[in-house]
Every structure is written in structure tokens, then in C-alpha cells.
């Protein structure tokens, strides 16, 4: 086996030496501990002994050459195994993977959501260039820059109250707060899909179920599921903003636009709820034309708010107001009461705590909204009073299974119970 003769460590500060003498020439026979070569440093001359018996095969370095610690000087042919010197092998029990890794950017920018994209289109959110230009123009601290990045703010738009007009953290927070109300007039949610509907043939098991259901009921086999929603947060939000918005935009936002939005969000995960059943085909809609049942003197009419998915809360509220007015004055046009993809009926206004609404054919579902009542509920083991809304969702059991509808309703309620992420937009 080959053994490689290396320059041993020659002292704490020494990194190199000079090979001054070959004691064993090529071809020489070597016994254990025979001196092989002499290396000189400014501290000491060292004779390097051989750990093995064998033959000097080849010198790798000439006399008077400067050699580094750990450098190979010669190759010896030795008998048997060689325990390679590990002094210069810094590999350890766990390995050599201790290489410095570049750290990731410390600032977690807000996720670039669809809502954010839209805000940018509308000029509420600044683009990358404006944000950076703002940094250059305005004296700002690290926290201000972080907030500006996370909330897409051009600091030139923020009034600064610090020394020399510096924008402070407080200034930015005030600016973001003020912007929340501005956000409300803009649509905040758009489906990216271009096609407007998807046609799924009702075949196989679904067809069997359909025929079975038709046979067992008159036309639509209705099933209604109930679930309760804690409206505390929406209520708090309304309390805080409703007057301000009414003053600024002339419309009083009721709970209905929130419910409409929650349907849209929940239907993203449960799309069959927002659909029509026509000639054994289920038309799953990628847009939301929401029918709002309006009670008139002796009858009921369901005007449709078109493309709610493209509208802001404020716009939906405005449209609802307008449709109700039109309904009450008989001014609704035919296209304003057709083309619905899902409906909402509010029996709460008259005090109902529960109802099983009838589906507007060929739609698949209708949501019954009822009176919000203060109820004792258990939170974290404590009995507390919360405003509770009892929803009733009727669905067409031919195409929608119970579990699907129950999950949809729960999802919708979750959005209403945790509205911060979507109602308040960016915060």
C-alpha cells in the first residue's frame, strides 16, 4: 500500500518550512522510525520519522523548496494497511456541512394577494418603484420602512410629524388606519378564471341519485342545515365604521353584504353550492349573481346582484339598497331578477330565529338569514354573552350531499367570525 509522507505541524504560528534534506532517497529501504526528510523552520529543524517499514518510492518535492504544513512530500510503498493520518482531515463525527449559509431576507413582506393586486391597480397600494422612491425622498427609520414594504406604502403620501418632517412609526400606523375605510369602496376579490362556468354532466352515480331523488320528492329534494355564527367581530366593525361610511358614501352597510362576501369566499372551496342544475348538467358558476329575497306587501321578489365577486362591500350594499328600492317601486327589469347563481333570504328582519327556505330553481342553494340575538355561549370554559346569528341553508340534495353543504356553511361562518383578514383588507 502507498503511504504519503506529509509535513507535520511545526508549531502554533508556523505555516510553512523549507525542505532542506532528503535523508532517504528514492529506492531506499526504510525501517519503522527511520528519519526520512529534514524540514527547517525559523523555529526548529525537524526530521520526519517513518511510521512504517517499506521503500521510498518517490520524492514529490525537491530540496530547498518551501513546503506547507500538511503538504505531501513523498510516497512510500509499505506493507499492509495504512492508517491514514487524520490530523489534516478536519471531517468530524457529523460531517462537513458546517458551511455558512446566506441568510434569508429578514423582512417578511405581506403576501402578494389578489386583493393586494387589485389595490395596486386602484392606486391604493404603491408599486415597488414608488415604495423605493419614497424611501429615497423621506427620512425614515427601519420600522417605518418595514411597515411601508409590508403595506405597500409610498412614504411621500404619509404626512410626517417627526423632526424635519420625518415619518414616524405612529404616522404610518395612522395612515394605514385611514386607508382601511378607503379600501371599502374598491372590489377586493376577483376570481382569476376566465371561463364563466364549468359544465359537469350528471352521470353515473350522480344520475342515479338524481333519478332516485326525483322519484322520492316532487321536484327538488330539499334539505336544510342549520348552524350558528358568532357575529361579535362584524358587529364591532360595523359599530366602529358604519356611521363614518354612511357619512362619506351615503349608504348604511347592513350585515347582508358581509354575508354575500362570506358565501363567495366559502364557495371557493365548495364550488357546487354556487351552481344551477339544468337538464342533468350541473353548471358550476365561476361568478356570483346573488339573489336577495325582498318581501313586498303581498308577495316576494328576488332581485339579483350581479357579479358580487367583483364588487366591494360598499358597492354590494349600494346595489342592495337600489334593488330594494326598485322592488318596492316595481321598477325592477326582467334581467334584474334572473340569472341568479345562489340566493339569500332574510327572515331576521321580521324576527325569525329559523326557517327552511325554498330553493330558487334551477339554483342549488339558498341561505336563510335570521335575527341576531344575544345568547350565552361557552368560550374557553366561561359562559359569555355573544351576538348569535342562526343560519339555515337549504340545498338540492340531488347534487349536493349533506356533508358538503354542512362544511360549506361552516366555512362561510368561519369567514364571518374572523373577518379581519378580508374585511380590513391589508391589516
Amino acid at each position: 500500500m502507498e503511504y504519503k509522507v506529509v509535513v507535520p505541524p511545526l508549531g502554533e504560528s508556523v505555516v510553512e518550512g523549507t525542505l532542506v534534506k532528503w535523508i532517504k532517497n528514492e529506492g531506499d529501504t526504510i525501517k519503522v522510525d527511520d528519519a526520512l526528510v529534514e524540514v527547517m523552520t525559523d523555529k526548529i529543524n525537524v526530521e520526519i520519522p517513518s511510521p512504517y517499514a517499506g521503500v521510498m518510492k518517490k520524492h514529490l518535492v525537491k530540496i530547498d523548496t518551501i513546503v506547507e504544513i500538511g503538504q505531501e512530500l513523498a510516497i512510500m510503498e509499505v506493507e499492509g494497511d495504512v492508517t491514514a493520518s487524520k490530523t489534516f482531515d478536519t471531517s468530524s463525527a457529523k460531517g462537513d456541512d458546517k458551511i455558512p449559509q446566506e441568510q434569508t431576507a429578514p423582512i417578511p413582506a405581506e403576501e402578494f394577494t389578489e386583493a393586494a393586486a387589485h389595490h395596486r391597480e386602484q392606486g391604493i397600494h404603491a408599486d415597488e418603484k414608488s415604495i423605493n422612491d419614497g424611501f429615497k425622498a423621506i427620512k425614515s427609520s427601519p420600522v417605518v420602512r418595514r411597515l411601508a414594504r409590508e403595506h405597500f406604502i409610498d412614504l411621500r403620501k404619509v404626512p410626517g410629524t417627526g423632526n424635519d418632517g420625518r415619518v414616524s412609526k405612529e404616522d404610518v400606523i395612522k395612515y394605514i388606519d385611514a386607508r382601511h375605510t378607503v379600501d371599502l369602496v374598491k372590489p377586493d376579490f376577483v376570481f382569476p378564471d376566465l371561463e364563466l362556468e364549468e359544465i359537469i354532466p350528471v352521470t353515473g352515480i350522480r344520475k342515479v341519485i338524481s333519478e332516485h331523488m326525483v322519484a322520492s320528492a316532487f321536484t327538488i329534494p330539499h334539505v336544510t342545515t342549520f348552524d350558528e355564527c358568532d357575529m361579535s367581530r362584524i358587529k364591532a366593525w360595523r359599530k366602529k365604521y358604519v356611521d363614518k361610511i354612511e357619512k362619506e358614501h351615503g349608504v348604511r352597510i347592513t350585515y347582508m353584504p358581509f354575508i354575500a362576501k362570506a358565501i363567495i369566499f366559502a364557495a371557493k372551496e365548495f364550488p357546487w353550492i354556487n351552481a344551477t342544475l339544468e337538464d342533468n348538467n350541473l353548471h358550476v358558476k365561476k361568478y356570483f349573481n346573488i339573489g336577495i329575497a325582498v318581501a313586498r306587501d303581498n308577495s316576494l321578489i328576488v332581485p339579483v346582484i350581479k357579479h358580487c365577486e367583483q364588487k366591494s362591500l360598499l358597492q354590494i350594499a349600494k346595489d342592495m339598497r337600489e334593488m330594494a328600492d326598485k322592488a318596492n317601486t316595481d321598477k325592477l327589469k326582467i334581467e334584474e331578477i334572473t340569472g341568479g347563481t345562489i340566493s339569500i333570504t332574510n327572515a331576521g328582519g321580521m324576527g325569525a330565529l329559523g326557517s327552511t327556505p325554498i330553493i330558487a330553481k334551477p339554483q342549488v342553494a339558498i341561505l336563510g338569514v335570521h335575527k341576531i340575538v344575544e345568547k350565552p355561549v361557552v368560550r374557553d370554559g366561561e359562559i359569555v354573552i355573544r351576538p348569535i346569528l342562526n343560519f339555515g341553508l337549504s340545498f338540492d340534495h340531488r347534487v349536493v350531499d349533506g356533508g358538503y353543504a354542512v362544511q360549506f356553511l361552516r366555512k362561510m361562518i368561519e369567514f364571518l367570525e374572523e373577518p379581519d383578514s378580508w374585511v380590513l383588507g391589508v391589516v
Partner: protein, 327 residues
């Protein structure tokens, strides 16, 4: 409950730990017959005998190194360094033995000992009886460094130090000995090492200090309150390892920090705290991190006006706070 002074709390802790654990013994200059120059060990010689309350010769090297040895064979030494100013001869033993013994022996040998060091100015002590030099030990991993500011913490931290398995430098500020009194529980209690205390909540600025400077910072915070500035006050209590979480979380909340330290500014504890704030929570800062420290001169000068000029006080701290609030 009766009110206990800072120094009584220390005596009580020593007494109770010596009664609880016969491995605990004391060694130091003038601690036996005389009861200590500040009377921290008063009465203990009579109670526990000369084998456990040892009057040492003037040998700070040995007081430190001898304690390391006694700790190695299973005792719990509590040596006293009469004045922090005189700790310098012990440095070799503290740095090379006390701090490194566990490390250099791969954990075979340990050094559970608590070195009490009487420190601090504002007592008219002059150059050689006023120093606080915690920063020398703060930069030596392997040591625990604590500096309590209240009788409760003085007692609880001393007990934790004596009971723990690590070498502790326990700084006790002389100015606090008989000035600060409070009611403390009679039952056995400890204060955890490594945890700071949030003494006052606030939203506008974070004040960080320890020892006497905690009290000065609190005075400033209460004065600032009247000006409508809400200061959060953190008493570090343990200097090494310091409570990163509490300080960094507070600065994240307030976005501003004023760090107060009695010893000289350059290379002090607060330089490290400041650098860490910069490294870890830079994106939360709304003003430069500011330090209020002792002067960069060799030690605390003697003449009273000069001593007061050297030391941070509530007024100097308030001024620094206002400057960054207005920033």
C-alpha cells in the same frame, strides 16, 4: 410583614442556605470575626463556626482559586470580594479556572460557586471603592453574572446561585444595601437566573438597566409619565446570560430603547444589548438605540460634584428619552 433591607436579604439568604446545605461555606476578608465590612456576614461565624466562615488572608487570587478547588471536590463555596475594585488579582482564577473548568474537562469537573462582589458608586468611595466592573465578566462565557436591584431579588437570586451548578459572579451594589427596603416573604423562595423583570409597562420607549441604575431608570420613567411619555422599564437582574426575549420583545413593541449602565460606556454590557437589538429587531426601530452610561474615564472620581457628573441619573436618562421620542 417587616421591611427587609437589601443587605439583610443577603444575610438571610446566606444564613438560610448554610442551614439548609452543609456544603455551603463562606470565605473572604474580614467576613468572620468582624462580620464583613458591610456586615453582610454578621453573626454567621458564631452560628456556623470557623470551618464554614473563613477569615482569609488578603489573598484575592486564593479566595477565588481556592473556592474553585473546594467546589471541585463537592462543596458550595460563597467567597466574598470586599470591593469590586480589588477583584483584579482574582481575574486569572476567575477567567482561566472558574469559567473554563467545565469546558476544558469536557464536563468532568464543575464549579458550583457564588462569588459575592460588593460594587458600585454614589457612596463617595473614590477611585478604588466605587467601581462596577461587570463588563469584564460579561464577556466571559462560562460565567453567570447577576446584579439584583431589590431585596427580594437579592435574596432569591443569591439562593438560586448557591443552589445552581454553575459559577456565578454575584454583584451587590453598596448604594442599595441600606437604602432599598421592602417586605419579602418569610417562606423559602428563589428568583430564576436568566430572567429579567418587567417593572413597568409602557408603550413609547423601553428602558433597560440593572442594579442601582434600575432605580434611576424607574425614577426617570415616573417623571416622564407626567410629560405624557409612557416608558417600559426592564430590570435585567441577570447580566449573563441576559434575557434576550424580554428585551427584544419590548423593543419590538415600543420601537425605541434607552439603555442605562453605571460603568463606563465603551465596551460595556449595554454595547452588546444595543448591538443585539440592531441585529435582531432592526426592522422595528424607530429611533437610534441610545445609551446613558458612566464616563469613559479610568474610574469614578472622588470629589462629590465629579462623582455625580460621572454617574447617570434620572435627569440624564429623561433627557435621552425625550431626545429619541422627538426624533
Amino acid at each position: 410583614m417587616k421591611k427587609t433591607t437589601f443587605i439583610e436579604a443577603i444575610t438571610e439568604a446566606l444564613d438560610e442556605e448554610m442551614a439548609r446545605d452543609e456544603r455551603v461555606f463562606l470565605i473572604g476578608e474580614d467576613i468572620g470575626i468582624y462580620g464583613g465590612v458591610f456586615k453582610a456576614t454578621k453573626g454567621l461565624l458564631d452560628k456556623y463556626g470557623a470551618a464554614r466562615v473563613i477569615d482569609s488572608p488578603i489573598s484575592e487570587v486564593y479566595i477565588a482559586g481556592g473556592s474553585v478547588g473546594a467546589a471541585m471536590v463537592g462543596l458550595r463555596p460563597v467567597p466574598e470580594i470586599q470591593f469590586a475594585d480589588f477583584i483584579t488579582p482574582s481575574m486569572d482564577q476567575i477567567i482561566q479556572q472558574m469559567a473554563k473548568l467545565r469546558y476544558r474537562s469536557g464536563g468532568q469537573w464543575t464549579c458550583p460557586m457564588t462569588m459575592r462582589v460588593c460594587c458600585g458608586a454614589d457612596i463617595g468611595g473614590g477611585l478604588y471603592h466605587s467601581q462596577t466592573n461587570e463588563q469584564w465578566f460579561f464577556s466571559q462565557p462560562g460565567l453567570i453574572v447577576v446584579m439584583p436591584s431589590t431585596p427580594y431579588d437579592a435574596k432569591g437570586l443569591l439562593k438560586s446561585a448557591i443552589r445552581g451548578d454553575d459559577p456565578v459572579i454575584y454583584f451587590e451594589h453598596k448604594r442599595l444595601y441600606r437604602w432599598i427596603k421592602e417586605e419579602i416573604p418569610e417562606d423559602d423562595f428563589t428568583v430564576p437566573i436568566g430572567k429579567a423583570a418587567l417593572r413597568k409597562e409602557g408603550s413609547d420607549v423601553t428602558l433597560v438597566a440593572y442594579g442601582l441604575m434600575y432605580h434611576r431608570s424607574m425614577e426617570a420613567a415616573l417623571a416622564l409619565e407626567k410629560d405624557g411619555i409612557s416608558a417600559e422599564v426592564i430590570d435585567m437582574r441577570t447580566i449573563l446570560p441576559w434575557d434576550r426575549e424580554m428585551i427584544l420583545e419590548s423593543v419590538k413593541k415600543t420601537s425605541k430603547a434607552v439603555l442605562v449602565q453605571e460603568s463606563s460606556k465603551t465596551g460595556g454590557v449595554m454595547a452588546e444589548i444595543s448591538a443585539t437589538i440592531m441585529e435582531e429587531v432592526f426592522d422595528y426601530l424607530d429611533a437610534p438605540v441610545t445609551r446613558v452610561c458612566g464616563l469613559d474615564v479610568p474610574a469614578v472620581p472622588f470629589a462629590p460634584p465629579m462623582e455625580h457628573y460621572f454617574l447617570p441619573n434620572a435627569e440624564k436618562i429623561s433627557k435621552a428619552v425625550k431626545k429619541i421620542i422627538e426624533y
